[in-house]
Symmetry: C2
Subunit: 108 residues, 2 copies
DNA sequence: TAGCGGTACCAAGTGGTACGAGGTACCAGG
DNA sequence: CCTGGTACCTCGTACCACTTGGTACCGCTA
């Protein structure tokens, strides 16, 4: 599937939030996870900008831990604000996707 | 529902394409239609920029017709390239929305 | 021990898209 | 004549995913 980037705007951040909500994890692993999930073209640079934004907006708690196979990892976990933001994201997604699906099924 | 603008990026153009595909129509009416459909905050300026883009990209055929209740209207209809683009849009939407729904339903 | 591939992070700049604000103009009714 | 509805457009802004390029840690192997 080619070039989904425009369609991912506004949703990719929510996806990252959901992944972090599932378990405490770090940027490199999140990228791999997204690729697994079918977002094949999402690259590290993109994920890191999202993570920095989440941190800047106070939605995550960050913990640095050493790794045995490479440089130290920055683990991200949702805080209360993050969980709230995630709920809002899913509400918006539900709203938007249902309207679009309705439009697809012939309008009214 | 508040501020869906980021989530609409990349999908709004497809929605406009779908509306035009349903029947030949014009900018002002498309805006009203989107508002009806639940995209309440979409304003005329947004729709016009999309319509200009569609025209520039050669996806629509444009016909100007006088109106009895105001200034002349610019009617838009899909051409072959437009119909193809619309099909591509729905394929992408299907792809993206299914992956996101899967992520929502606990991952794998 | 030098180099390579995998792991892991970050920064600066680009391009596309929706939106805000404002302007023009046609028309009917009070 | 003036207001409100209809109908079009333009310019600037903000935001987001992406591109490109860089740093650095680690284990393996030639």
């Amino acid at each position: 599937m080619d070039d989904l980037t425009e369609m991912l705007k506004g949703t990719l951040e929510g996806c990252v939030l959901e992944i972090i909500g599932g378990e405490e994890t770090y940027g490199y692993a999140i990228t791999r996870r997204l690729n697994e999930l079918g977002f094949a073209d999402v690259v590290e640079g993109t994920v890191y900008t999202i993570l920095l934004r989440l941190e800047r907006n106070g939605l995550v708690q960050v913990t640095k831990r050493p790794s045995e196979v490479g440089p130290p990892r920055k683990f991200y976990a949702l805080n209360d604000a993050g969980r709230e933001q995630l709920a809002t994201f899913w509400a918006k997604w539900q709203y938007v996707s249902s309207r679009i699906d309705r439009l697809k099924e012939g309008g009214r």
